[in-house]
């Protein structure tokens, strides 16, 4: 015991990390979330899934594992076959042959439109146009996760600063921010988001992030404000004030680290919430523009495909989202358990 006394006692984060490592569910969730983030990063760099708009398969190409069950007589793109063979002309002259030759002479370098060989099946199947669903899911994850992450960071930042100011200064400042909080929470979240989406006519990923971020700060605000109310009269803050620390310094250098566990859990919770909101908005067509794919827009397409029995895009987007959200929720729970200072003793 005496040997240990000289060592510095482990800090909050070290203790939290140790507790998280003990939590098998939490660690699994962390690994799953990490995998998603790696894929998103790779997709962002363009190393995987560079172009989801390429039509690599036949229309509604089934997934590889599913195609085996069906009979092998499925014809490759029939239009392509008919064109590739010699076309019997039955003595007819092509009426446009001379003009075609003239056009070709004018543009000597021009390439003939070639039928790109299309695959009969794709790893996770293809959509209506033959886009690879696997590529789409990766790109969709990139969009949905990035939107959720950036919006959550924005909302958490806003909520933290506002909560800090309100809780620290109290009095009329607190009243003003509380009023704003009351206004924003009086309108159900999705309705507020719909209203803003209706007003802002331009669609875009940035717009989406702004909408979600600017409306989603309320949860963080409430908790951070409560923390600051609690901390502002503690001895260490008063001591810092006596030593001449400015308000800013007391708020963000001294108190903020002591509320960081609350903020981190809220951030994690917000990511999940915003991903869900993004999916709903994009599904309804109020979210990402048409040239961007997200889980929501995939589900929208999949809705019509399912009626034709083409279930793979729905399954891919649904499962990808479900796994991430499950893992993220469990990680949030694990973080909360690991960071709860009450459990320390």
């Amino acid at each position: 015991m005496s040997a240990r006394a000289s060592e510095t006692s482990p800090g909050l984060w070290t203790l939290a990390w140790r507790r998280l490592q003990q939590d098998r569910v939490g660690m699994t969730a962390l690994i799953v979330v990490g995998c998603y983030l790696v894929v998103v990063l790779l997709a962002l760099m363009g190393w995987v899934a560079p172009d989801w708009t390429r039509e690599v398969g036949v229309n509604y190409a089934p997934p590889v594992f599913w195609a085996d069950d069906q009979d092998e007589t499925a014809q490759p793109s029939q239009a392509g076959q008919a064109l590739s063979g010699p076309v019997p002309l039955y003595g007819l002259q092509d009426p446009l042959a001379t003009e075609l030759a003239a056009i070709r002479a004018q543009h000597p370098g021009a390439q003939e439109a070639t039928e790109v060989p299309r695959r009969l099946s794709l790893p996770l199947g293809g959509d209506k146009w033959g886009h690879d669903v696997l590529t789409k899911v990766i790109k969709g994850s990139e969009t949905s996760i990035l939107v959720g992450l950036v919006a959550a960071i924005l909302a958490t930042l806003l909520g933290t600063v506002m909560g800090a100011v309100a809780g620290y200064f109290g009095r009329w400042v607190d009243d003003a921010f509380n009023w704003l909080y009351g206004v924003f929470t009086a309108i159900p979240y999705l309705l507020l988001v719909f209203a803003i989406a209706a007003v802002l006519q331009q669609k875009g990923v940035v717009t989406l992030v702004l909408i979600l971020g600017l409306t989603g700060w309320t949860g963080v605000f409430r908790l951070v404000r409560a923390e600051y109310l609690k901390h502002k009269s503690r001895e260490y803050v008063l001591a810092a004030g006596a030593m001449g620390a400015s308000h800013m310094r007391r708020m963000f250098v001294h108190i903020l680290p002591n509320t960081s566990h609350v903020i981190l859990v809220q951030l994690s919770q917000n990511v999940v919430g915003f991903i869900k909101s993004e999916v709903i908005l994009s599904f309804l067509g109020f979210g990402v523009p048409v040239d961007v794919v997200s889980w929501g827009s995939m589900l929208n397409e999949a809705q019509n495909e399912l009626i034709l029995g083409k279930w793979w895009q729905l399954a891919a987007a649904g499962v990808a989202m479900a796994i991430l959200v499950t893992a993220f929720s469990m990680l949030t729970d694990a973080l909360r358990d690991a960071l709860d200072p009450k459990l320390k003793y």
Binding site: V183, P188, L191, I196, G318, V325, S329, D333
Partner: protein
């Protein structure tokens, strides 16, 4: 302080918040949103048309005058006509409220009942395999998007198996309740029950550790009686509050469910209004739903105080 005084004070306190909501909605639509005349006039608009529409809408007047118009619209309930269908907005809300309630009220009642029963069961068996399995299941169920439930559910149970109509609505309450609303309600429950179960379980577990439970056990009461009479009564306080505060969240489900199942309710109307930039409907909906939310919160608070004699009306 007595009940009436408390009520009046809380209602009085709601006024600034309501004014804030009105201001927020107003700024959003009349200032951020820019000039709606161009949207309304269409592609082949000439300046006269636009000036005419601007005059009709009142957007050529100063901002403070527009705000007064908006406030008077809220007070009188007369938001004019829908831009898309020319139907009076008040008429739209009056006729669409019924179907929304037919969907939401049974959903709220069933959700509460199912969640309480499941939460009591898992709380009684806390720490057991069943408890942990159910908790994990509920996390997974919460994680699947309501969209996926609806798409798959509608396809499997309505299109494929034909147990329910794919979509539709009738004029008869009973027929709606027993035929058209069944599948939407069940699908809505799939997502809304899980979070409630988790929450109610913690409420119940909070009570289980209390001294009065130990006393009841020491008196020799059965576990069942302790849980169903002693614990449930105390846990009911946060549960009731939560049910009322959860009303707005149900609305989210109603948006999607009404749209998918073509139920002519308020949620579907709002989504269509957003699609068509039908500002009067969205403005009215936002303000009135905010009012309803505030009232629901007040009611929750009130019930909380009535149920729990330890809390005083301050």
């Amino acid at each position: 302080m007595n009940l009436t005084a408390f009520l009046f004070r809380r209602l009085w306190q709601m006024i600034p918040t309501l004014l804030g909501v009105v201001l927020l909605v107003f700024l959003l639509f009349n200032w951020v949103g820019g000039d709606p005349a161009y949207v309304l006039a269409g592609k082949m608009a000439n300046p006269d048309d636009i000036a005419n529409i601007r005059h009709q809408l009142g957007v050529d007047r100063p901002l403070w005058e527009q705000l007064l118009i908006f406030v008077s619209q809220i007070v009188t309930g007369d938001f004019g006509n829908s831009w898309a269908t020319r139907e009076p907005v008040s008429e739209i809300f009056r006729t669409r409220l019924g179907p929304s309630l037919v969907l939401l009220v049974p959903m709220l009642v069933l959700e509460t009942l199912v969640a309480i029963v499941v939460a009591l069961t898992v709380a009684a068996l806390r720490g057991s395999v069943l408890d942990r399995t159910l908790m994990v299941t509920s996390t997974v169920m919460m994680s699947i998007s309501l969209l996926v439930y609806i798409i798959v559910g509608q396809y499997v149970f309505a299109s494929l198996l034909g147990w329910f109509p794919v979509k539709g609505w009738s004029d008869h309450l009973w027929r709606n309740l027993t035929t058209y609303a069944v599948l939407p309600i069940l699908l809505g429950l799939m997502v809304s029950v899980a979070p409630s179960v988790r929450l109610y379980r913690t409420f119940i577990l909070d009570e289980v550790g209390q001294d009065y439970v130990r006393t009841a056990r020491a008196k020799g009461l059965s576990e069942r009686r302790i849980l169903l009479v002693h614990v449930l009564r105390n846990a009911a306080i946060p549960i009731v509050t939560n049910v009322l505060m959860g009303l707005p969240a149900l609305l989210t489900g109603a948006f999607l469910l009404e749209r998918f199942f073509a139920i002519p309710g308020i949620g579907r109307e709002i989504i269509m209004a957003v699609e068509r930039s039908d500002f009067p409907i969205i403005k009215a909906a936002t303000v009135y739903v905010a009012m309803a939310t505030l009232l629901a919160n007040l009611l929750g608070d009130l019930l909380y105080r009535v149920l729990d004699p330890r809390v005083h009306f301050e």
